[in-house]
């Protein structure tokens, strides 16, 4: 099983990834599966038994399409086909802040350590690094900045709130 970095209660740890990605043409599978948004919306059965369901969104897929379906979903994987493609940052924030999703939001694709902090702020809590980062390196990168200037999905107090309490 591939390894995954998970953020839980402010702590990064390395965990086992139990999910298997299932292509649109692949038959129903055992265990935890990640399927495309199209397959989820088509209502086509993807799993056997009590496995969990994850859904994979490409950057152009609108997270609003999941509205009303999120209680069926345990995980949303947001793809970064390229490091530079920042659409998934918006998708993650909307999932957390607008759609109220509390399951796992996973960064997949060209996922590099230097975006760890931004990803955590936007509500990602699972990371599948493409650069071989260790959990220690990932945590150090994500925790580099002592202060932030904006409100985002992570609940961190922005500078304008901290200042109010000085």
């Amino acid at each position: 099983m591939p390894m995954l970095i998970r953020l839980s209660d402010g702590v990064f740890s390395q965990v086992q990834d139990d999910f298997v990605r299932l292509g649109d043409e692949e038959p129903v599978a055992e265990g935890d599966v990640i399927i495309s948004l199209g397959r989820l919306l088509s209502g086509q059965v993807a799993r056997v038994g009590g496995g969990r369901i994850g859904v994979w969104l490409e950057p152009a897929d609108e997270v609003e399409a999941l509205a009303g379906r999120l209680d069926e979903v345990d995980l949303v994987a947001l793809a970064f086909p390229k490091f530079r493609d920042g659409r998934a940052f918006t998708s993650a924030r909307l999932l957390r802040e607008r759609l109220g999703f509390t399951g796992e939001v996973r960064a997949v694709g060209d996922v590099l350590r230097d975006q760890a902090g931004f990803m955590a702020r936007c509500g990602f809590d699972a990371f599948s690094p493409a650069d071989g980062s260790t959990v220690e390196a990932w945590a150090a990168a994500a925790g580099r900045h002592r202060h932030v200037y904006q409100r985002a999905a992570d609940g961190r107090a922005p500078a304008f709130v901290e200042r109010g309490s000085f």
Binding site: G86, R144, H145, R146, V148, Y149
Partner: protein, 550 residues
């Protein structure tokens, strides 16, 4: 000046440490150049033709003497003794060693300066009116909003990997000195009927390959709703801006493709969903306003011998005519410092000159210095009684060329002398034109005439909004130049129109002179070049330039 607090300083220190780590990983080979590129670009480090170039942010063009001296120090220790002020009011160093970049950031951070987001597909340095806080015609100091935008946009978790770069301008005067309408977002501060402030919001202007004067998306946005609205615009852009072609990735292309109305509706819908949760509390705006030092301006200080000197010394009188602007208070003037000396590179400044400007700001200028998008500097608060002394000192440092807004006050990009993107040189073209019009009486007789030169279609030299724009192109390995006429970056923003076929480099200055002569022939009383051109159309000018080609 905005005074940084412990939070602002910690952000800079953390960012400098992060970049030091990234450079270390690059130098050790842990990162490839491909992986390093987007990281260094987030921090203003470009790989140019000959060396690394580091672009340092001058947030909304405001500097104090301590910061100017830090910039001079960097020029001496890490570069070749000079720097270059850009059309984004930033300063760049052209001869940087990668291994020195982290140390430079530390020097900058010690002076509350940084290179954050001076490149990359993120929200760049905000442009402000360079006369902010001093201009006689402003409604309020726009820099409070600029600083709030600087903080909000710094290391923004959602908007640091946009389809393309994103530039915001803020002005609070009816006369626009920021080129707001050719920015991704232009914010024009207005006062509503009830006296509260708001912004006219222009979205989707730009230059580059496809120039647009941006449409007004909102005629009056209450200022306390600014940040939720910016978030809405940026979010719509981040989701829907094109990412398949970097030349079609700016917001202007999205706005033009959807139409301003449809784009505006999307923004309104998003804005409604965000609600006031996206706004900065009024208490924070008030805190930022209070964190700006108030220059201790006296009540109508005596002008001393200003008028007598002006009457007695023609060279001083010429400087006063061209390089002074009306200050909001009697007894003061805004002094423009020209970085357009004849034979110099527009925007270049030596370390020694930086020190001179720093000293003058400290002794006579209430510690304030500005950089302008036209690549000059400004001392915004000089007592009339001190103007002569300041002029003498500037003149001794070759910083008093009396040519602001005149034909030799040329914007030019670095062009093929430095830039890996350029097709043609820009600097030598600017120098040649400036020399042709060096005679000061003639230049004053010509009056306001803005020439802007870009060495390639990316338009860093703002040629689209030059009264005369000059664009370098490559024709089978030779440098050619296309002329455009009638552009303006001011409140009457206009994209210039191409005059005719491109010219070889040795004909450009002659063509400019032919245009000027045609203007002098056709102009009526009091008309600027732009006024005459708008009245006559470009036929007389085309005739003048291309006559001998018939």
């Amino acid at each position: 000046m905005y005074r940084y607090d412990a939070v602002d300083r910690a952000v800079l220190a953390d960012r400098a440490a992060e970049f030091r780590d990234q450079v270390r990983r690059r130098l050790s080979g842990e990162l490839t150049e491909d992986q390093f590129k987007p990281l260094r670009l987030m921090n203003g480090l470009y790989l140019q033709l000959h060396a690394y170039m580091l672009r340092v942010a001058v947030p909304y063009g405001s500097l104090d003497p301590r910061q100017m001296r830090a910039l001079a120090d960097i020029a001496r220790r890490f570069d070749r003794g000079y720097g270059h002020f850009t059309t984004r009011t930033n300063i760049q160093y052209n001869w940087i060693r990668l291994a020195d970049a982290p140390d430079i950031l530390d020097v900058l951070a010690a002076a509350d300066l940084h290179a954050i987001q001076t490149s990359g597909n993120c929200i760049r340095n905000v442009t402000a009116d360079p006369y902010a806080g001093a201009a006689a015609d402003e409604l309020e100091d726009p820099r409070v909003w600029c600083e709030a935008i600087r903080q909000w946009s710094s290391l923004h978790p959602e908007f640091s990997f946009l389809p393309r770069k994103f530039k915001i301008a803020v002005t609070a005067s009816p006369h626009d000195r920021t080129a707001a309408k050719v920015h991704d977002i232009g914010l024009l501060l207005r006062r509503g009927r009830d006296g509260a402030t708001g912004f006219e919001v222009i979205v989707g202007g730009g230059m580059g390959r496809t120039p647009y004067v941006g449409p007004t998306l909102k005629a009056f946005l209450p200022s306390d709703r600014l940040f939720s609205y910016l978030e809405a615009v940026l979010r719509v852009y981040n989701r829907h801006g094109r990412r398949d072609n970097i030349y079609k990735a700016r917001i202007k292309i999205l706005v033009a493709a959807l139409g301003a109305e449809a784009f505006g509706r999307e923004v309104e819908a998003e804005w409604e969903k965000i609600g006031s949760a996206g706004d900065l509390p009024g208490s924070e705006i008030a805190r930022i306003r209070d964190a700006f030092t108030r220059p201790e301006l006296a009540d109508s200080p005596a002008p001393g011998d200003f008028e007598a000197r002006r009457a007695a010394e023609p060279a001083f009188a010429r400087f006063v005519r061209n390089n002074l602007r009306a200050h909001k208070l009697p007894g003061y003037a805004i002094v423009d410092v020209s970085l357009k000396g004849f034979g110099e590179t527009p925007g270049d400044i030596t370390a020694d000159q930086m020190d001179v400007v720093a000293d003058l700001a400290e002794r006579f200028g209430l510690d304030e210095i500005r950089s302008t998008h036209e690549q000059n500097l400004v001392l915004p608060h000089i007592r009339l009684a001190d103007v002569h002394t300041v002029w003498k000192a500037l003149d001794a440092a070759r910083l008093a060329t009396p040519n602001i807004n005149l034909i030799s006050d040329i914007i030019a990009c670095p062009g093929l002398d430095y830039c890996a993107l350029a097709n043609a040189r820009a600097i030598c073209v600017a120098q040649d034109i400036a020399r042709r019009f060096e005679a000061p009486d003639r230049a004053e007789a010509i009056g306001e005439l803005k020439i802007k030169i870009s060495g390639c279609i990316n338009a860093c030299g703002h040629h689209h909004v030059g009264h005369i724009g000059i664009l370098g192109v490559d024709k089978k390995g030779e440098e050619f130049y296309q002329l455009t006429l009638g552009g303006s970056g001011a409140e009457d923003a206009t994209v210039g129109k191409m005059l005719g076929p491109a010219l070889p480099i040795d004909r450009v200055t002659d063509a400019v002179e032919a245009i000027v002569d045609a203007y002098l022939l056709h102009r009526k009383d009091g008309e600027r070049f732009l006024d005459t051109l708008r009245r006559t159309g470009d036929a007389p000018f085309r005739e003048a330039v291309y006559a001998d080609a018939h």
